[in-house]
Point group: C2
Chain length 372, copies 2
């Protein structure tokens, strides 16, 4: 801690303004969050992971940012610092990685005009990025990049053209004789098919792994998994049927017809985060003839008895953040291993039910997929 900072702490202590959470003042090395809209100075983060917000609202009575410590929604109240600006800093360092948030202005919920929006909680929310010690693995680097394509595929069961995003690895458009395995990767509740690229950086994680020779090139397909009444309600009345129909009967045939896939069960994986893990578990167990690699990211567990034909399963990957239920993941993988499955568990340190857990999970999982 430098002198300037100590002085601030002392001044704050004298004023009696230190909360239980903020026993030291944050270092004053705040920089704009990497997710800010072009040219926007706020929100900012410092080297310790504190987040600082600034909102222009000259005549507002009350401004609160929903982001608080420890994954709670306690939030951070802003104070009026000029005639028009409200500012506030989190009471302590935030956990590493991506966080959704919003701003309550006089009781109405809005997005922070300084930052970009990400689809979560069934709405476009503000996002902020707390730089992580391991952020290099999803950084945009000077390597060969794959593409992320928006495809619109016909769906008779829902009578719509539905959207999917398809990651094709570097070189896909060069060697036109080569065919690739496919990983179907699902988002969580309230998110959509944009989440794994926008929040998750799935494409950059793959580009970097492939550039380092750590991962076989494969295709990733991401589509919308909330096809029924779970959309704006809870998960109580969830039925897998509509989504399973879209995925198995409509999307997979479309992808196999329009991309250079290896169109068989050994070269097809399914995974998902949170609700997407629940969908993955249900669909892989119902259709063992379709997928051979299964991945649940903070999204449930398999027990050995769940699986009827062990010979059809090449990999089971289970993960979560250390602030979730890591023992559940570890114990389930151990039980699967004891029963003869190729099962792997991964626990993301110091993260919870958020995208940093899932970025890391994909980074651990991808090298294990389609190894032979």
């Amino acid at each position: 801690m430098n002198l300037k900072c100590s002085t601030i702490v002392l001044a704050a202590a004298l004023l009696g303004g230190i909360s239980a959470h903020a026993q030291t003042a944050p270092l004053e090395d705040f920089k704009p969050s990497t997710l800010n809209q072009p040219g926007q100075e706020y929100p900012q983060v410092n080297s310790q992971g504190y987040a600082r917000f600034r909102i222009l609202a000259p005549d507002a009575q009350k401004v609160v940012v929903s982001l608080g410590l420890g994954g709670t929604r306690g939030g951070t109240p802003l104070a009026k610092v000029t005639d028009s600006l409200w500012m506030g800093t989190t009471a302590g360092p935030m956990e590493e990685g991506f966080h959704y948030y919003h701003v309550t202005i006089d009781g109405g919920v809005f997005n922070d005009p300084g930052t970009s929006n990400f689809y979560g909680s069934t709405r476009w929310e503000s996002g902020i990025e707390i730089p992580a010690h391991d952020q290099e693995f999803y950084a945009l680097k000077n390597v060969q990049h794959g593409n992320v394509q928006q495809v619109l595929f016909p769906s008779k069961s829902t009578n719509t053209s539905r959207r999917a995003f398809v990651y094709t690895p570097p070189g896909y458009d060069k060697d036109l004789a080569k065919r690739y395995p496919v990983f179907y990767l699902q988002h969580g509740w309230g998110e959509d098919e944009t989440a794994w690229s926008n929040q998750g950086h799935a494409n950059l994680i793959m580009d970097n792994l492939i550039a380092e020779g750590k991962c076989k090139p494969f295709i990733i397909v991401m589509t919308y998994g909330m096809t029924n009444e779970i959309k704006f309600g809870g998960l109580r009345n969830f039925s897998i049927t509509p989504f399973q129909t879209v995925l198995i009967d409509e999307l997979i045939p479309y992808i196999d017809a329009n991309f250079r896939t290896i169109a068989d069960q050994p070269h097809r994986a399914m995974g998902g985060l949170s609700m997407g893990g629940m969908e993955t578990k249900t669909i892989t167990l119902a259709r063992p003839d379709v997928f051979s690699h299964y991945a649940l990211l903070s999204g449930g567990l398999y027990a050995p008895d769940d699986i009827k034909d062990k010979s059809k399963v090449k990999l089971i990957f289970l993960s979560c953040g250390s602030f979730e239920r890591p023992d559940g993941v570890k114990n389930a993988a151990a039980a699967l291993k004891a029963a003869g499955f190729n099962a792997v568990s991964y626990v993301s340190e110091n993260t919870r039910h958020e995208f940093q857990t899932w970025r890391r999970s994909l980074h651990e999982l991808a090298p294990l997929l389609f190894k032979d």
Copy 2:
């Protein structure tokens, strides 16, 4: 007009509440705008083109929507209708098509949480769609769809990986021997490479034209054109050099290396809207060896003397909205024709410097591109 509506007009007249703009009350057939976030009821539009807004802000003092009549920014003030909700309707029908807007809450500028965001004015703005009489040509239909791919291409001149979106027409991934012409299509000031897909529906316009056999399949490439100080200032200090370098020396070689293009001048077009038209004019004139088809959409004019070698130009397309300067466009095209150029002008009826003009312009232009 039905009885219910007449009654409302009468009641309003008795109350003396009719403004010069609103001599009749709007028809009460409001529906959610097609751009709304999933499940959101507001904003709404009616069959006449009125827009109605509803904002939750219980303790706000003043709420104004920036969208007003006639392309002005006079805006629409909302009134508090319950303890928590503010509502308001435009003073008359809006022009057809897409409009950007935002909401001012107690002096701060925010987006409407009900609708989706679109990048314009160097920020993500709210958008609303007033259904147009000709909206079928950019509707999502049950036809074969092309894909829109995000590519990250290396740029030495800016020392970054830059983003472009590439539309590949239906069938691109089927017949791997076929090669395609390429149209480089630019956005306007304050927008970015997402605009032509998100606001413009360029991909759907192409899909529909191709399905009807009205247009040759070609590739469209859209990248960010604000590479220098014009970004957050005006256009005064504009230099074309940084963008021209990215486009000609970096993006075009990347596209030709990674997509199945016909990589020669006769099969390469450039066009742009507004500032993108200015860029198109400058670059096509500086590099007649690169492009053969030129298109300026509400983005300036060519004079016959601008062009040194007439034999290198296959098409010049000039367009604008009827509320812009249609005579300029018509006269310039006539002068070019008189001088022996294949010049075409198009005027979009009852639209101004907005995306409906440019959607229609692309719809008119595409069938003229790469005809032989």
